[in-house]
Symmetry: C2
């Protein structure tokens, strides 16, 4: 069955849960027989943006490259899932305009909670001044004004956030409602 | 109807006809209801590789980025057509291994003919030493050893070369044989 492509764009601070949510949503959409590609920050920094740093200009270039690839995939019927901090509103909005079928998910979590969890030990370094240009610490993060989906990962489980996102995609008629086919067949 | 994705990789000197052939083949494949994206050198230098130069290292990085995108498209059922000089054999072979469904088209034309035509005036500058690192003049071009298709654009028309490529894709069972559906319907 032919499915419609769209871009699902996760934005939020480091450690907020973007990639975790992207992977859960990916699995659910694959189950529903969509074609899906996840482009997370690490994949892109390795394959498309090696050499770029963390200045505003380099960050914008990095995000535009992810957007370019999302656009190619989207217009060919693929669900392109981007998971990158993407701190600047203007470039996100530029991609929304270019791509058209664009769903922004704001993965929100208070920085105090992230600094407390600090899974990768990055906040500690950033707060100690050992890591410069760290978003939310000494580099800006511009939250979305009116995202299609807002998930608050400090107060709900990843599964609940993912369910919230899927429900919104159903509402937007981008994915079909109801049970995934594979699960339905098991009944 | 679901079509199989593959990468059609054009390699050859500047001015040999890579982009021209890519566009003719694109039109024919669209007619046959494939999904197609053309990634030519200019599109990529603008969107993915701004800032890269023409050293071997930068050229290889540029080609790997095109390959990364071709791979994403190919595995999602799209025909990815790359048209870039891609002078180094090793990185082309690396992409062939990574992508799997990879068809290399060597667009061959003697450099004397290209320098004589010199549509963009680049050969004149390169031969005068005003343009450095120009492939075929003062930078190497490593021709494919055993490409799936060889077209010699000094001795045949673009249409003939394109027909040659399509015939080979049919042989490889990557595109369906016979009349394109749209043409057939007109009869």
């Amino acid at each position: 069955m032919e499915r419609k492509g769209f871009t699902l764009w996760f934005t939020g601070l480091s450690g907020a849960g973007k990639t975790t949510l992207a992977r859960i949503v990916e699995a659910e959409l694959l189950e529903r027989e969509h074609r899906v590609e996840v482009l997370d920050g690490d994949i892109i920094r390795t394959n498309l943006s090696k050499g770029l740093g963390f200045s505003k200009e380099d960050r914008d270039t990095n995000i535009r490259r992810i957007g370019f690839v999302c656009n190619l995939l989207t217009r060919n019927g693929v669900v392109a899932i981007a998971a990158a901090i993407s701190p600047y509103r203007e470039v996100r909005d530029e991609l929304r305009n270019d791509i058209g079928d664009f769903v922004e998910v704001y993965v929100k979590c208070p920085i105090e909670v992230l600094a407390e969890r600090d899974v990768k030990g990055l906040y500690k370094k950033a707060l100690a001044g050992e890591l410069k240009n760290f978003t939310g610490v000494d580099d800006p993060y511009e939250a979305p004004v009116d995202p299609e989906v807002l998930v608050e990962t400090n107060s709900e489980t990843p599964e609940a956030s993912a369910a919230h996102i899927i429900a919104r995609l159903e509402e937007l008629a981008l994915v079909s409602r109801g049970e995934p086919q594979a699960s339905a067949m098991k009944k």
